[in-house]
Amino acid sequence: MSAAKNINITLKIWRQKNADSKGNIETYKLDNVSTASSFLEMLDQLNEQLINERKEPVAFDHDCREGICGMCSLYINGRAHGPETGTTTCQLHMRKFNDGDTIFIEPWRSKAFPVVKDLVVDRSAFDRIQQAGGFVSVNTSGNTIDANSIPIPKDDADKAFMAAACIGCGACVASCKNGSAMLFVGAKVSQYALLPQGKVEATQRVQNMVRQMDEEGFGNCTNTGACEVECPKGISLENIARMNREYLKSSF
């Protein structure tokens, strides 16, 4: 391990009291940040400092801090989840920054994700898209067929898993110049489209999810590919293509 050291940094952070108020960037100095700390541990340290100075701590979303719950967000130096590819903010470490750096931290920017406070945004639109069709309509009785009665080619199962690995963080939307949610929706549509269990309702599903996506105010996809680059789980653009094929198919 490269030995941990302490660095001093300047933070430029978006502060906004609530959804209705106007926000602005505030500047904070933070000293003695261990390079072994995670980015969010650095923010914990800032908040401890602010509390000790009787100032209001910065609100940010976070929970598992293992890169899997999808709760953390943050636009760091102009990139969703910061400078590392394939990494959520909680898995970003301060060793990626240098002594004396100035770091800009903003919330996700998208019409469909309104700011709740400071760096916290409302991503409930994703839940509503899922509610519109992101499921297999099977009751939870347990009286289904034996799990091995339908063999699924490993390749399909693996591809479905890779699509299902989406953590719903919203980095794709935040990175997209159109504020499009196609990568998120495409991943969910693909997971089910690739599996025999999901094929039964494929037509309805893609129609319903796309309709809800449009109603939520997400933009369209123009194949820029920023979403794929910034996705911390490496969800592939192929999923958008597959969703488009599913959508076309469902229209006939």
């Binding site: 899997i68 899922q130 299902a164 690995a165």
Partner: protein
């Protein structure tokens, strides 16, 4: 307080079937007249809410995260057990039942555990039909792997993200019911009290975490599925928001809290890096299928690797102590978690720890042997029967990447070391709590109408949980147990009608919550919530952690009481009550941890034996193994709340009767 486990009569394997056949039902036309609250949306909560909604009840579900999909079940890595015997290695419902009882060191109920094993197969069927993409073999069949404490391959998995895939499956079922209007979802809401009317659970007080508004929600039954209490240690593998508050409020309202001292310390986590650390990261137990655990045999070698003058790869084979393989040849690196954790602590206590942190605590988890052997296997499978070393290692690394790629990547991000080239450094960390709210066979607490599921209850894992069993229990409770037992309870409520939230009980509960919030915000102390939480965590880790003794536990009880007093006098909570206020949320949670921590120490103090995750220095055999005392301690300890000074809590005992299996020493040698 009377503890009635309500275990049905009859032969073990018929109990659940017979019992289910005779439970009362609520007719479909009556279900929409009945309200049910579910707190928590992890595997247990989401599956319960989805199933009850699907039956036609009016369900309200609550989670503190911004979406139900984020509950901490999502972070479970390794897998889920089920007695399918797809691998034809002699597995059966009985074996899964037996392994779980033995793994729990004979401190769980036979009937509950057998039911869990019975429904385990249905869980896999259910999940596959929901489109959960489990790992498969080339023939299209489901793949399995092995976990600690068992000698069969019964663990189903989806790379190192099994919890995520299962939770998203349950979340999809829940989303479907939300879309259909059967479940109303309250995200960013936290339950801050249980409301009882005429002795029955009839609702909750919840705080809208965005607006700060206190809300009254009534129901005919309340299901608590809010997870475990590992964060009482401050540092754990739990999510930052994981807390005991919902369970503790229920306890304060009269529900017994069982076996609080049974905590699982997971052997394979990334060691602590420094004082600003906020949480610990687990490296899945599945890695013990392929990794070998060792420390240097010589103290000077351990010191040299700590100060960087020696690399672990430079230490010769004969100078390494593969201590688990040496001590437990039958199970080797796959001994249960409590055994592996204690062994790591022992070698570090001897000065053989390899991590360069304050405590030198860390051991190696080494994949080099597996890389070589699997590389050779793959080469043979590809028709190359004489691979050179370079080819072998390349193929072996590819094999490892396919199995554990995401875990290896995560390790590298956190530690800046490449585990394909140098062994991982690991050390035990608090992971799971076997204790929880006491429930009977129906998963009902001692408060009528208050059910508790998943990690929040104490029911199935005894003194130690086996790997890949938490996911199994969460889904079993939510999909396959609660729908029956909650309906049975509600059958008497079909004429009750809507429960009013205007009653004095609701008003009183709301005003109590408001008073607590106001007190914190006006306290004007000098120290942050984290300051107290970290102090509590340190006491818990050092004195109520992996090894406990009478003196330390008595000190812990005293010290936690002092920290609690100081907390109420000197905590500073900024902001107001009518906004998103994470510091206020933390203060309300830590207040409950400060009571629970003391109860855990008291429970550990009264249990004069060592069993599972509870190890008392005074009770060990000549080889340092746990010494159970079945004559005196074959019981579930169930504590009754007697006020904020937890030392006044009263202990009740539920005797454990083993009718079907012979209770024996737990031997993994």
């Amino acid at each position: 307080m009377k503890l009635d486990s309500k275990i049905p009569q009859g032969p073990l394997s018929d109990k659940w079937t017979d019992y289910k056949d005779h439970l009362k039902l609520v007719a479909p036309n009556n279900r929409p007249k009945i309200d049910i609250i579910v707190v928590g949306t992890g595997l247990a909560g989401a599956s319960a809410a989805a199933s009850l909604g699907e039956m036609g009840y009016n369900v309200k579900a609550f989670c503190f995260q911004d979406s139900p999909r984020r509950a901490h079940s999502i972070a479970a890595q390794g897998g889920i057990n089920a007695a399918k015997n797809y691998q034809n290695d002699g597995d059966s419902i009985y074996r899964l039942f037996y392994d779980t009882i033995k793994g729990g060191d004979y401190r769980s109920r036979e009937a509950n555990v057998h039911r869990l094993a019975e429904v385990s197969g249905n869980i896999i069927d259910q999940c596959v039909s929901q489109g959960v993409p489990f790992a498969r073999e080339y023939g299209g069949m489901l793949d399995n792997r092995s976990f600690g404490g068992v000698q069969v391959q019964r663990t189903f998995y989806a790379a190192g993200q099994t919890g995520q895939q299962l939770l998203l499956g349950a979340y999809s079922a829940l989303s479907r019911q939300i879309g259909l209007g059967h479940v109303k979802m309250f995200s960013r809401h936290e339950m801050l009290d249980l409301v009882k009317v005429d002795g029955k659970a009839r609702g909750i007080i919840a705080r809208n975490l965005v607006t700060g508004e206190l809300e009254r929600h009534s129901a005919h039954a309340v299901v608590i599925a809010s997870g475990g209490y590992g964060n009482v240690y401050f540092l754990s593998t739990n999510a930052m928001g994981s807390n005991v508050t919902a369970s503790w409020k229920v306890h304060k309202q009269g529900a017994a809290f069982a076996n609080p001292c049974f905590v699982q310390i997971h052997p394979t986590c990334i060691p602590v890096h420094g004082t600003n650390q906020a949480k610990l990261t687990l490296m899945s137990e599945s890695l013990r299928n392929s990794g070998r655990i060792w420390v240097p045999k010589k103290k000077e070698d351990a010191e040299a690797v700590r100060n960087g003058s020696l690399k672990p790869t430079q230490i010769a084979e004969e100078d390494r102590d593969y201590y688990l393989e040496r001590r437990y040849p039958a199970f080797g690196n796959l001994v249960p978690r409590d055994v592996a954790s204690r062994a790591a602590k022992e070698v570090c206590d001897e000065g053989l720890g390899i991590e360069a942190n304050d405590t030198n605590e860390g051991v190696y988890l080494d994949f080099s042997s597996e890389i070589k052997s699997k590389g050779k296997e793959v080469a043979y499978a590809q028709g190359n029967h004489d691979p050179n070393e370079e080819e072998t290692i390349k193929l072996g690394k590819q094999w490892i990447e396919e199995k554990y790629g995401n875990l290896f990547a995560m390790y590298e991000k956190i530690t800046d070391e490449n585990p394909y080239e140098t062994p991982m450094k690991i050390y035990p960390a608090v992971h799971y709590t076997m204790g929880g709210v006491w429930v009977d066979y129906n998963l009902q607490s001692t408060i009528p109408g208050c059910f508790v599921a998943g990690e929040a209850n104490f029911s199935d894992h005894g003194a130690n949980r086996l790997g890949a069993s938490a996911l199994m229990q969460g889904l079993a409770d939510g999909y396959f147990v609660l729908p029956y037992t909650v309906s049975n309870y509600l059958a008497d409520d079909i004429r009750t009608g809507k429960i009013s939230t205007d009653s004095p009980e609701f008003a009183q509960a709301e005003s109590n919550v408001k008073a607590t919030i106001d007190k914190f915000l006006n306290n004007n102390g000098t120290k942050s919530v984290d300051h107290f939480h970290k102090r509590l965590g340190l006491v818990m880790w050092n004195k109520v952690g992996m090894a406990r003794n009478e003196k330390g536990l008595k000190e812990a009880i005293e010290e936690i009481g002092q920290i609690r007093d100081e907390f109420y006098k000197d905590v500073y909570v900024p902001g107001t009550s009518d906004e998103l206020n994470p510091e206020l949320e933390k203060a309300l949670r830590v207040a409950d941890f400060l009571e629970l921590g003391q109860l855990m120490a008291m429970d550990a103090l009264q249990r004069n034996e060592s069993c599972g995750g509870h190890f008392r220095n005074e009770y060990q055999d000549a080889e340092g193994e746990t010494l159970r005392d079945d004559e005196k301690f074959s019981f579930v300890s169930a504590w009754e709340y007697k006020g904020q000074d937890t030392t006044k809590a009263e202990l009740h005992k539920e005797e454990l009767k083993y009718e079907f299996i012979k209770i024996a020493a737990r031997n993994y040698k």
